[in-house]
Structures are given as C-alpha cells and as structure tokens.
C-alpha cells in the first residue's frame, strides 16, 4: 500500500521544468506563425505576439511569387533521389555484411563505421574540388552524391543491426529452395527489415531536406537552389519584410510537419536511430 502512495507523489521539479520548457518551445513557433500572417505594415506597429488584427496570406503570396515552388521542387528531387539510393545501396551492403562469411567483409564494415565519427564539414574542401573536377558543380547531383555518401555509414549500421536479428534458418531455407542472393534480398530481407528501412528512410530524408552546407558550397545559381538555401537568400532579399521571410520558413516546414503528423512514431525512432536503443 505504501508503495502506491509513494508512487503518486508528483515530481514537482520535473513538472515545473516540463511546463517552462513547453513555453520556451512553443513561443518561437507561435511567433513564426502569427508573424507570417501579419501584413508587413502592421509588423512595426502591432505587438509581436498578438494575433494579427488584419490576418492575411499576402506574405505567402510573395514567397510563392518568388520562385519558391522551384526551390521546393529541387528539394523534393534531391531528397527523394538521395533517400532511395541510400536505402538501396545500404540495404545491399548490410545484406553482404550479415550474410557473407568472408573475413574481408568484417573489415569492410569497419570502414563504414569510421564514417560515423567523421564531421562532414571537415571534408567539404576536397568534396568541392572533386565535384568541380567531375563537372558536377552547380547541379543537383553535386548535392545528391555527397549526401548519399555521408548517410551510408549510419544507415548500414542500423540495417545491419536489424538484419542480424533475422534467424539464419530463414536465409538457409531460401537458399535450399534455390533462391539466388538477389531474390533472397528482395523476398526475405526487404520485407523483414521494413521497420528499419522506414526509420533509416525518414531519418535520412529529414537530414537531406534540411541540409545546408552541401548546397551552400556546391551550388550557386537559382536553378539549383534548395529550400534551406532559399530561406537564407530570402532573408537577404526580403530583409525588411519579416512576415515574408517567416512565411517561407513555415512553407519549408510544412511537408515535414505533415510527415510528423502521419508517421510520428517512425520519425521519432528515425531521429534517435542507432543511438536510442
């Protein structure tokens, strides 16, 4: 009985911190939203946290009129292509790591693991040199290829950990049925690792969608501009039009927010992927 009583004493300290932190999280987000709905003229006169007296979508109109959809499209292409390739090559690599009994494969896995500890930023100069030499500078490939490369280590790690849990008997029985490696991969490994694939996919899509350094260094023109970079350049162009800049911020988050609402669980496990468990 005494156990029960002790259990329910409220954690006052944690509770207080929890509510204060909520305010700290919500106020800036609320501010972004209300400001993006405020007419530019009222920005200077109204209380920044008040609901806009003359709410308008003008700011959104201005952003859309400034090629926002092209940048959005670029981000969609870069994110989709990168994520699909990351998943395909990481899954096949993990399959080899788990199924092969060669000594060399273990070595290979260690090479991938090395990549997890490397800060991406630190290799940007040679990556820039390489991209220029390959004639890919200022193309979407310039963002896609390095993004894939740097996503491979963590993706292989997560998928490998997951594939190891698949009972070896399942693989062996596929083999006894005469299935080749590709068919085993497609018919067995792929369906069984679906949760891990979702996690890796969501995690990497978010990383690529929000990525800033590769686009900044490896692209230049408006034709190849992706969303995070466009926010930065909007800030330059619209410097005095804060509602428009913040409307661009809202539009850039919308797809992720939609994904969060639909697949919150995957997104959460995706973000803590490989570290949380």
């Amino acid at each position: 009985m005494s156990v029960r009583v002790a259990r329910t004493t409220p954690n006052l300290f944690g509770g207080l911190a929890g509510w204060i932190w909520l305010a700290i999280i919500i106020v800036p987000i609320y501010y972004i939203l209300v400001t993006s709905l405020r007419p530019q003229a009222d920005y200077y006169s109204e209380n920044p946290l008040s609901l806009p007296a003359n709410a308008t979508l003008d700011a959104y109109g201005q952003v859309l009129a400034n090629d926002f959809l092209r940048y959005f499209g670029n981000s969609v292409v870069v994110t989709l292509v990168s994520t699909l390739v990351i998943l395909a090559v990481s899954l096949t690599a993990s399959y080899v790591v788990v199924r092969s009994r060669r000594r060399s494969t273990a070595r290979l896995f260690q090479v991938f693991l090395l990549g997890i500890a490397i800060p991406i930023q630190a290799t940007i100069i040679p990556v820039y040199y390489l991209i220029v030499q390959l004639g890919l500078y200022d193309t979407l490939w310039a963002i896609i290829l390095p993004s894939i490369a740097f996503a491979i280590p963590l993706s292989v790690l997560i998928l490998t950990n997951f594939l190891r849990d698949v009972p070896a008997e399942l693989f062996e029985s596929m083999k006894m049925d005469g299935a080749g490696e590709w068919r085993t991969l497609w018919n067995l490994a792929l369906p069984l690792t679906r949760p891990a694939i979702m996690t890796v996919g969501v995690y990497n899509a978010l990383q690529v969608w929000n990525g800033f350094l590769f686009p900044l260094v490896l692209t230049q023109s408006a034709e190849t501009r992706v969303l995070p970079l466009s926010l930065w350049s909007f800030q330059g162009e619209f410097s005095v039009n804060v509602p428009a800049v913040l409307a661009a911020v809202v539009l850039s988050v919308l797809p992720i927010l939609a994904a969060y609402i639909v697949g919150r669980r995957q997104l959460v496990s995706g973000l803590t992927a490989g570290f949380g468990k």
Partner: protein, 311 residues
Amino acid sequence: MSAATGSAALTQTRQGRRAPGNRADGPSVWMAGPALVLFGVFAVVPLIGVAVLSFMSWDGLGDPVWAGAENWGRTLTDPVTQNAMRLTVVLSVATWLFQTPLSLLLGVFMAGRQRYRAVLSVLYFLPLLFSAAAVAIAYRALLDPNFGLGTALGISWLSQDWIGSPDLALWVVLFVISWSFVPFHSLLYQGGVRQIPKSMYEAALLDGAGRVQQFFYITLPQLKYTIVTSSTLMIVGSLTYFDLIFVLTGGGPGNATRILPLDMYLTGFRSYDMGKASVIAVILVVVGLAVSIGLNRFSGASKMDSQMEGV
C-alpha cells in the same frame, strides 16, 4: 522435432559449404559495390584529400601547388584561428553543461506514463522538424531589439541587441543550439529511462528511498551509457554547428562567434585560402575522432562501442 532436424541439416550444409576449394559462402562482395564506391569516392577520398590539401596552397580556382608545412605554421599561429579554437572549447563545454541536466530532467519527466506528458512530448519534438537555417532566421527576428520578444512582453531586459553585441552573441548561440537539440537528447534519455526495470524502483521504495534518492542511486547510474552516447554526440556535434551559426550571426559580430567549422568555411570559401582551411579541417577530424574514442574508452565498453564492435 522437425525444427531440430532442420537446423541439424543446416549446420551440415554450412560445414559442407566451408569445404576447401569451394566458393566462399554468402553473397558476393560486389553486392556492396555501389555503397563502397559512393562512400569511397565522396567520403574516404575527401578525408585523405583534406590531409593532402593541408600541405598545399590553393585558391579554389587554379591547381593546388605543394607548399610543405607552411600552412600549418601559419594556421597554428593565427590569432583568429586560436580564438576560434578557444570559442569552440567554450561553446562545447557550455552547451554540454547546459543541455545535459536539462535533457536528463526532461527525459525523466517524459518517461512518465501520464497522458499529458505524452502530449507534451509530441510538442517538445517540434524544433527537430525545422532546418537550422529556419531556426536561425526565426531567432534573428524574435531577438530583434525593436520588434522582437522584448517589445512583445514589455521586458526591457529582453530588448538588448542580442545578436549585435560581441558579449551576448555567443550566449544567444548557446541558447538557440539548446532549443534545437535538447529535444533530441531528452528523447534519448526518455528511451533510456523506460528501459530501467521497474522492479529496481519497487525495491528502492520498499527500502524507503525517496524520489531524489531513487534518481541518484538508480536512474543516474542506470543511464550511464545513455549519458555517454548523448555527451559524445553533443561534444562531437559542437564541432559541426555550422549552418545555425552561419545564418544566425555569420561568425560575428567581429569574430565573437567564429568557431572552428565557421573559421574553416570563411577561410576557404570567403578568403579562398584552401590550404589553411584544410589545416583547420584536419584539426576538426582529429579532435572529433579523439573525443569519440576518448569518451567511449573512459566509460568502459559503452553501448555505442559494443554496437560498433559487434561486427
């Protein structure tokens, strides 16, 4: 019965396959080819390349020319880079000191099964959806001395020129980094707390341990691996805070927030001194690796280690 015979048969097959002269078992390494090529060309080669470039002179346009150790001497004695190193250390220590207790507290709070806590956890997660560029832009507007938060709440203390003052800018960076990353670390701690066996708390209660004692004698020791993982990510992460600071302050005012990754970018892509920037990059790689390995050694075989060594 049949399962047992099945596995016996399987062992036989395996042994049979291992017979000398036979093609080695398992899929061909070529299946890993695409991942290897992509990772090799765009990650491993650049990693070697950055070390080579640190001994070369290059303006980013022509061809790199051999320069010997000149870049190294020049970089290590440069007051701007020395200042960047100092700022990087200050920022990583400060972000760790600020974020760790906060994330721990929130993680323990979020791990509770009450429904309102689940709702709060959903909201806590929101900062993780924003790109660093978006966060920085929003905070630039929010911290405006004339039209920002200070005006909204009528608190004059909040109406300082946060981003324009060399004394305040670094602390603004610290706060905005925490706003963005505490949600992630509290998620790690939430997961860690939920894995602690309930029976441990029940036993502690029977022994008459209060909530605070439970925290220090059960929760904290049980979260050892989570703390190491989170701290490693935080400290290595502070070597990579580039985009957020780049958009928020650009390294300024003056050089007040020019930490190493920013120093590298500005040296390389604004001053076109790629040799010097490569030296800074090598320092970043070495420090990053040293911190990861050091923290994991220091804590014994950590979870990250065992995941990595479970090859």
